[in-house]
Each structure stands twice: as C-alpha cells, then as structure tokens.
Amino acid sequence: VSEAAYKTTPLYDEHKRLGAKMVPFAGWLMPVQYTSIVEEHQAVRNNVGVFDISHMGQFIVEGAGGRDWLNRMLTNNLEKLSVGMGQYTFLLNVRGGIIDDLIVYRIDEQKYLLVVNAARADQDFGWLQNHLKVGHASALPDSRDRKRNACATRLVSRSEDFGAVAIQGPHTMALFHALFGEDIELPARNHIIDVRFETSNLSVARTGYTGEDGIEVFFPANDAVKFWSAVLEQGKTLGIKPCGLGARDTLRLEMCYPLNGSDLSPERNPIEAGLGFFVDVSKPDFVGREALLKTKEFSPREKLVSFRMKEKGPPPRPHYAVFRNGERIGEVTSGTLSPSLNWGIGMAYVSSAHAKIGAEIDIEIRGQKFPATVEKKPLYRKAAS
C-alpha cells in the first residue's frame, strides 16, 4: 500500500503502535483489525470496544434560515428535533436516489451538526453548497423566502478539525462514568451533550452502528491521542478492545443497518431500502420528494431484504446472485459469516414479489445454489439476560 496517497486520521500512529492491519477505505488508511475481527466483534457484544471514526465528515449548518433550508435538503423532519437531539436521515438526489445517509444533531437553537459517511463527505458538501448558492442566486419572486433563508444560512465543513471515536458495548455506561465522572449523566438515546474532558470540550452522542449501547464522541483533532489513550486505559478493567472496520461491518450487518456504497446508492431510494420511516413525505418540499411519492404510489420494483442461510456452508458475499425456483430475482449487497450466530447472513435486493418474511430463496455461490430464508430485521437479537 502506498501510504502517501491516503488520508490518515489523528490516531494513525496509535493504530500502527497497536499492530493494526491498515487498509484503504474511502480515501483513508484505516484499521481493518487489530488482532481478530471475531474477537473485536465479541468484545463489543460482551464488553466494550472503541472504533476510530475520525474519517467521517462533520458539517455545521447555522443561521436563522438553517432549519428550513436543511429540511428541504434532508428527508426526515427537522421540526421534530429539540436542541440536543439527533435523527437519522437521508440526502437524496432529484430521482429520490440516496446520496448519503447521515445523522443530523440540533446542537443549538439555530445550529446543526451533520455527521456523514467518509466516502461521500466531499460529494455531500459540494451538493449542499451548490444548493445553498442556488438559493442565494435565485431571484424569482416566488422564491423570496428561500433566498432569504439561504442568505441567512452558513455551511462549513469541520471534518479536518474534528476527531471522533465510537465506544460501543454493554459496558459503555461504566466507561463513560470512568472517563467523565460519576456525576455526569449519559445523554438519552439519539441525544448529544457537551462534556468537559481535562482541558478540552467534547461532544458525546448516544448513537452507534453496532446494536449495542454506545456513544460517539467528537473532539478537536489535537485531543485525539489523549482521549483515545484515556479510553483504552480506563477501559482495561472492562475488557475493552480497539476495533477495526472489519468488526464494524459484521456488527452492523447483524443489526441490518445499511452500509452506503453497498446497500445504499444513488440508484436506490429509501423506500426500496425499507427505510421509509426516516422519510417524512408530509413535508411540503424536499429534494427527491416527487420521485419518492411515485415510488410509494406504484411500490418499488425491488426491495432490500435480510436473509439467513438455511444450512451451515460458505458465507454469502456482495454481488452473489439470488434465485427463487431457478429464476434470478436479485443480488446480494452485504454478506458475511455472522460472528455472533456463527452462521451465514446477508442483505439483498430482490423483486418485491419475493421480498416477504419467510420467503425461500437461493444464493448462488461459485455456481452452486444454497438455500436461505428472508428474515425479519435484525438478524441478531441479544438473549434476554
């Protein structure tokens, strides 16, 4: 790997020191694993794990017109957000296709934080900036409100200034208190708070991508090493492991959380992806709304389903063909051997007629068909303890 061609996070040297295997991901050199994907996966399910997510993009939108403008850029309804809350949402193109899936937090009355995928950060920013400029330039009488809103809205990328880690697993709460003090309360699910850590100000959100209790912590890039080291030190007695992209992928897939670039793309819309819950079509206007209404009306041709192999065998992989009674009905977008279930699982787009819980399908693996069943999300559920 020619390392110079890739961006590195402020934690790069820490990853190398810990013996991580570094791989290119979305233009970044990121740890795919430190010791073992399976061990790291289990650490998150049973104890606690920490992931470097500094590669993700962070944008700030602020100003008097920020909310109304963002509400026309994103699918979920920002009017539901009180200060300190976040929501999962989509940035769509005019065809309703997914440019990115992201979390938007309302961090002040007129200030929003957008946390976007590394692979799409530049594209997202360009898209948003262009729309903001069009808003500025527009002089049509009926868009006077838009112009006023756009002029009163500022968009800046803070991706370079921030580092971030995700702390995920059942011992998250214990680690949070060890780091920030017993008297500080964890934010509620999907909420974000500001916290003091030594001489730094950090933001802590109760969010994640693993299905476990967890937080995502944002801090100035300069504080990255200090905070990362403290997390590993304080987490020692809790069984913490640094975790790479490999475990991040198996954990999210067990929960059927989509991965942009695999399960989501500009050719797929949120309705096809089964994520209509995060689209508020009652909003009068947002980019992609018209296209989505057509989809809702006519129902999509294909849908994203979760499946589980019926027999122990080779794990499903992206791009494997999906069949039903010998007829090709779709393609796998994500697949792996689930470390928690020790069983092959995946997600696939299949024709809507077969996108039903319990449907029997076949996955073609190296020319041979292996039976699988369409299952309810998530594919992994914690045993009641």
Binding site: K21, V32, Q33, S36, I37, V38, G246, D249, T250, G313, P314, P315, R317, T336, L337, P339, R366
Partner: protein, 126 residues
C-alpha cells in the same frame, strides 16, 4: 512470520511438504495472517486431477473468499475434513493441523519450480 526451512512455497502463498510421491499442502503463516479469521473452507473433491496453478479450494475469512491453488500437476488423494468443523485450524496451526489437501504428484521434477524458504521470505519481504 514463521517460514519453516523444510518446506517449499508457491507465489500464491501455499506451503508444500514432500511426503514420498505425495505432497501435503496448506497456506503459509503470512497468508493466514493476511486473510484473518478463517470461517469456511471449501475442500477439493477426492480423485480430482488438477493442473499446476489451478484453483482447487477456497478459504473464506470473515471479509473475503480466496482461492487456493494446486502447486503442481497431480491427483487429490486426501482432504483435511477437520477443517469443515474447525476452519480456524488454519489460523492456529497453518503448518500443522491446518493442512488442506494431499496431492499425488505426476512428476517430482515439477517441485523444482517452487520456492525455498529463503525465496519465499524475500517475496513477502519479512
């Protein structure tokens, strides 16, 4: 990385142990470490006649599937059934219990094409 002196090696990271007219084949310590946790192994069919560099088995890690190649021309005599129940043997004992197949070779001279430990070490740069 462990690279035993008494084995031969291929460019594609298989190790080869000479056993009379047969060779035992597995993947190197370096290969298992690069592949990460092995979760599934597809073994070749017994009696299958194979050519040098023909893909005849598949080792799957959590992240990806990788082909395993026949080091030389021959016939598959035996496969390591223990890998079906415990594919992690490849990670834990790549040169021992993690062997993959036994091949009856057509021509012992073919082995001269393979690398010795020194040449393999140079290839992986360790």
């Amino acid at each position: 990385m462990i690279i035993p002196d008494d084995l031969l090696y291929t460019e594609s990271h298989e190790w080869v142990k000479s056993e009379g007219d047969n060779i035992r084949v597995g993947i190197t310590d370096h290969a298992q470490s690069e592949l990460t946790d092995v979760v599934y192994v597809e073994l070749p069919k017994l009696e299958r006649q194979v050519n040098a560099k023909e893909p005849i088995a598949v080792v799957e890690s959590v992240k990806a599937a990788s082909d395993i190649y026949a080091p030389v021309k021959g016939t598959v005599l035996e496969t390591n059934k223990a890998l079906e129940a415990d594919p992690g043997l490849i990670n834990r004992e790549p040169y021992g219990q993690g062997w993959i197949f036994l091949l009856k070779i057509d021509n012992a001279d073919d082995l001269k094409q393979l690398k010795d430990a020194g040449a393999y070490q140079k290839q992986i740069g360790s």
